[in-house]
Subunit: 671 residues, 2 copies
């Protein structure tokens, strides 16, 4: 039973790695970029779509302003990247926003940031995988209508890859990420060149008219129009996620860690900005129409045909740029689909590290801090995958619906982190005397102050425009995480206080005066005899066997047999008018404790140890219940005396490691 | 944690009952009739419907022969009841068909019967509850389209009632069963009287024509027609289920048990026969049309309106008999719906008793033999409810689809049981000399022989006509049950052989020469100190503390502290290059065993015992894994040293029974 699935685990996650190999799993920049940057880069696959789709609510002409929204997103992105370059330098330990907020703003602020980031990591997985499946279904019609199931399958595959370990992830991911950059770059260059030459054709959807939704008949005018622009901007801001993953992942970089992380950040910022601005510009020039519901589209005044499939914006651009070479549409779609799945991988790197840090600080269960045997934080990976799968299933893998929940968390942590950084520089300036260093710090403080004002402004925009569309769900989830982590932390500190050992306090060291051994007996068989032999070997002050009289006739018979066999321990029969096993034993043990409170009671329970986990259900059910109850009685030790069952003939045992070897068993039989 | 839900359980199932009250829970005839007969009686609520529906496949005129099918079912029913009156007299112990087949035909025949009955009990619940929900939805339009969920809800309620115990069930059930008999009786009398007076109106559905399905355009002619008649008869034979429940339930009757059971059987047979014949006769006279799919119906050549609701046959008859008094339609529908739910209760009485007997004989896990504290066989009830709910959900609570699986099992056990009874009388006659007694036995053998030929004929008809319609599923389930029970029985006998105690074989009594105590240490705190104190109290030959060096720096620090504190046991630090806890400990324990195979190793594991089950996830995860593994090493006893944690302030502890009282804890602290 214990090693059930161990072989499968080995097969999937590989052999365990030694601690001293941990240093070898560090990432050079050329691998760190694909591992940490795929999130921010891949968002160009859906952020422009969501911008266009939101603007399309106000009709076709409203979509014309989309490049300006791209510029606004680019400005925020550059600011945030600059700010985080300060952070990775000041805090190379990888706590990222959580550490910055905790150190400079206190534990509660840190916990708010942690809650926000944990929720957003889950959403990164859900959104990226859903968008990737959207691209896959755009190219492979057979996947349509099964998006949610396919997305869950992808999440499972990603978890398995990550359970194998970080270094392999970096290698596996580098190729497709660079391939995606190449594909998007080539599409952009070809499209721009043909645009300059005047040979760039319009996309298929350019033929459609977009009907404004009720209330937006006059386009982007007044407060309603401004609000819609803000909403489109808030959706486009999805391009900013992933930046903080680098700041959490600094320890995974090769040395000099901070410098390499900062360089990687700059690289990814530059690439992301170029991509998003270019895509929105080209979408505008080629007349891409992208809507939430195709019933909004009209072709010469009539609704579009029922079999019209709306491809994502990037696919539409590839179709136009490489008109006449249809294979390129599939290549770009495939590259984009894959990068989106890999983007989810960013969260698979960030989430387990953050939850391990939180577990170390006592905010999450301790087993999240325990590294699995492949140097990865297995529990965190599994939890992240499970939550993301639930979200994908709940929202039916709809990117447009999931993206409403997204980004709130990121901007909460951006804002608090920038505030923390401003405080950090102010504190540092209070003691620093070196003028060169002071100037550098003041420059950094200015960068972070700009970052603070911009990210807090975006946070307000995101909250206001998306709250009723789904952001409230993300906020509720964050609040739940916050309360949960507070409760866990409280519990651990209460426990730590209770169990603290004070050498002068003799109570926990005082030796019980006598040992009263009780052997539980169900039937007279070898396991019982072994339990009595073992109990005798511990030379207790008092030894007795105890059985419960569920059937009085049977017990009387057992008592006779017991005496005939001359078993060297008296057998006490406990009455059980309600045919229970647990209660009479509990009452008897308590009565021993009452009679002699200074005695230690050791209850020996013979247990069958079966060779197959499914045999477990046929044995030990009463013993298990009893053991759990007895642990609640003070001054009682529960000793399990195992009887290792041989496997049934013809059924090979599946247990490799901990099961007794044949030699062991023979030796034991001879002993 | 152990008493989680105990309060809820008390609330629902009441206080526990003493064994000596078991006699008081026996049933007088007036309560036994409703408890055991509701299955057979309630089938008049769906068996006629299925007969009519099957015949309607061949068109409206084919339905005219339905009363003759009623007569055929009645003949079989009378024969089977007469046969079982012999069984309850010959076998008053309640093993019923299982005991009869095992005793007279051998263990495998008994196991076939048991498999068949277990499957059929589950189907009884599924069919009866689904039919009851059909009646409820016929009267309450809001329930339509939610039939499966409502049915599962009813199954849950029934389980709770049965977990409260048999006696209360009898009382709760008597009123509605007698009410149902009264309602059906009144409907029949009024309808027959108005028929005689010529004032009985036609039912609403009489206005429809029934279109024959393709292949049946010529009505019930040739082999196809004969096959359809046989199928209609097989569906009508559903009226026979429930008879065997009485033979399984003899011990629940008041004394004289056998005589009372036989009388109850005769009563229920008479009532059931009268009901089914009368209903099919009246359905014919009032021109009831009942079809599987309302598209088969035509009104003056046109399809019926989309909003036409096809009421069950009994409801239609009530509507006609009490035309002008619409409330009677609701009263009869309600009475029928309720009796159908209660019919499922028959299985809730029979299934747990049978599975308890099978568990006693070693064919099912032993905990099924353990009575719960309300004198009922709780585990059996819960398993029955779970399987029935799965069936209802799988077949979407469709009576017509579920009934195809039904009855196969009943007739398998009928046939084998009758064969067994014939053998029983033959064997008895071989030794009996008293002539009066011999005549009685020969008479009984004739009755059972007639029963055997008739039930085996019906079994063949059921198998042939229903196999492809779903009966194969029931047969597969029975085969699975058979194989499972064989496997369990084999396992238990292998185990019993292994653990049999032979007084001359000294190996299991031989005393280990020395005790080597190992205390596992994670940190230096009170639970560790207590574990060491308790380990010392057992005065082992050797005592050492062992810790795993997951973090070498931490372990070195702990070693220093250990020595400074002068803890009276040496601390051994185990290396763990893979940061595992379990493996190094396992290896070390094995190495002790290798060094001195005759020693007993007692591993003391300090454990936190938390006050709330949800706190458990925060503690002991490593300890739990380790305990499970250590049990596989021979010659090792695993001793849990609990540290009872006080509940966190402000959170009241929910555990009443086994938790330490405040006094206990104080006493312990002083000790």
């Amino acid at each position: 039973m214990p090693d059930f699935g161990a072989a499968l685990k080995r097969l999937i996650v590989g052999r365990p790695m030694r601690s001293d190999r941990a240093g070898g799993a560090l990432l050079p920049k050329r691998l760190a970029l694909p591992v940490f940057a795929s999130d921010a880069l891949s968002s160009v696959a859906y952020a422009p779509d969501e911008v266009l789709l939101t603007l399309a609510i106000a009709g076709g002409s409203a979509v014309m302003i989309s490049p300006w929204i791209g510029v606004a997103v680019a400005v925020v992105l550059i600011t945030v990247v600059s700010s985080y370059r300060q952070t990775v330098r000041a805090y190379p330990s990888g706590g990222g926003d959580y550490e910055v907020a905790t150190t400079n703003l206190g534990g509660n602020a840190g916990l708010v940031v942690a809650s926000a980031l944990l929720v957003d990591y889950v959403l990164t997985v859900a959104v990226s995988v859903s968008a990737g499946v959207l691209y896959a279904a755009s190219a492979i019609p057979a996947l349509r209508d099964h998006e949610a199931s396919v997305a869950v399958g992808v999440i499972v595959v990603l978890s398995l890859i990550n359970l194998r370990g970080l270094r392999e992830s970096g290698r596996v991911l580098a190729v497709p990420v660079y391939f995606f950059m190449g594909a998007v770059g080539l599409t952009a260059i070809v499209a721009l060149a043909r645009l300059a030459l005047g040979t760039l054709p319009a996309v298929e959807s350019a033929a459609f008219d977009v009907v404004a939704e009720p209330g937006y008949e006059h386009g982007l005018v007044g407060a309603v129009g401004a609000f819609l622009i803000a909403r489109a901007f808030a959706s486009g801001a999805a391009a900013l996620t992933g930046v903080e993953a680098v700041s959490n992942g600094v320890p995974a970089f090769k040395k000099p860690k901070s410098k390499n992380a900062a360089t990687t950040l700059a690289l990814l910022g530059g690439i992301a900005v170029t991509m998003i601005v270019t895509i929105l510009f080209l979408a505008n020039k080629t007349g891409v129409r992208y809507v939430d519901d195709v019933s909004q589209l009209r072709l010469n005044g009539a609704p579009v045909p029922a079999d019209y499939v709306q491809h994502p914006v990037l696919s539409q651009l590839a179709e136009a740029a490489f008109a006449g070479v249809p294979v390129m549409f599939y290549i770009v779609s495939a590259a984009t689909g894959v990068i989106l799945f890999l983007a989810a991988n960013t969260a698979f790197n960030g989430f387990p590290i953050l939850s391990s840090i939180l577990a170390r600080d006592g905010y999450l269960p301790r087993q999240l801090h325990t590294r699995g045997d492949r140097l990865v934080l297995s529990n965190g990976i599994i939890i992240l995958a499970a939550f993301a799968a639930v979200l994908v299933l709940s929202f039916d893998a709809s990117v447009t619906r999931l993206i409403q929940l997204y980004i709130v968390g990121v901007f909460v942590s951006f804002t608090l982190s920038q505030l923390g950084m401003v405080r950090h520089w102010s504190k540092a300036l209070a003691t620093e005397v070196d003028q060169v260093e002071r100037r550098r710090m003041m420059r950094s403080r200015v960068v972070n102050s700009i970052g603070l004002s911009l990210t807090s402004a975006v946070l307000v925009i995101v909250l206001v425009t998306k709250f009723t569309h789904g952001a409230w769900i993300a906020i509720v989830l964050m609040a739940c995480m916050f309360v949960l982590m507070k409760a866990i932390s409280h519990h651990y500190s209460v426990v730590a206080e209770q169990v603290r050992y004070v050498p002068t306090d003799e109570s926990s060291r005082s030796l019980p005066s006598r040992v009263h051994a009780v052997v539980l007996v169900a039937r007279i068989h070898k396991p019982t005899m072994r339990a009595i032999a073992y109990a005798r070997a511990t030379r207790p002050s008092e030894l007795e066997a105890v059985t419960v009289a569920v059937d009085p006739a049977e017990s009387a018979q057992m008592l006779r047999e017991w005496e005939e066999l001359g078993i060297p321990a008296p057998l006490r029969v406990l009455d059980s008018p309600y045919r229970e096993i647990t209660r009479p034993v509990m009452q008897y043990v308590r009565s021993i404790r009452r009679r002699s409170p200074r005695d230690l009671v050791v209850v020996f329970i013979p247990e069958y140890v079966v060779a197959h986990w499914w045999e477990q259900v046929l044995h030990n059910q009463s013993a298990l219940r009893l053991k759990t109850r007895l642990l609640f009685v003070p001054g009682v030790v529960v000793a399990s005396v195992p009887w290792q069952m041989a496997a049934a003939p013809g059924v090979p045992t599946k247990i490799s490691g901990p099961v007794t070897t044949h030699g062991d068993r023979q030796r034991n039989a001879r002993a």
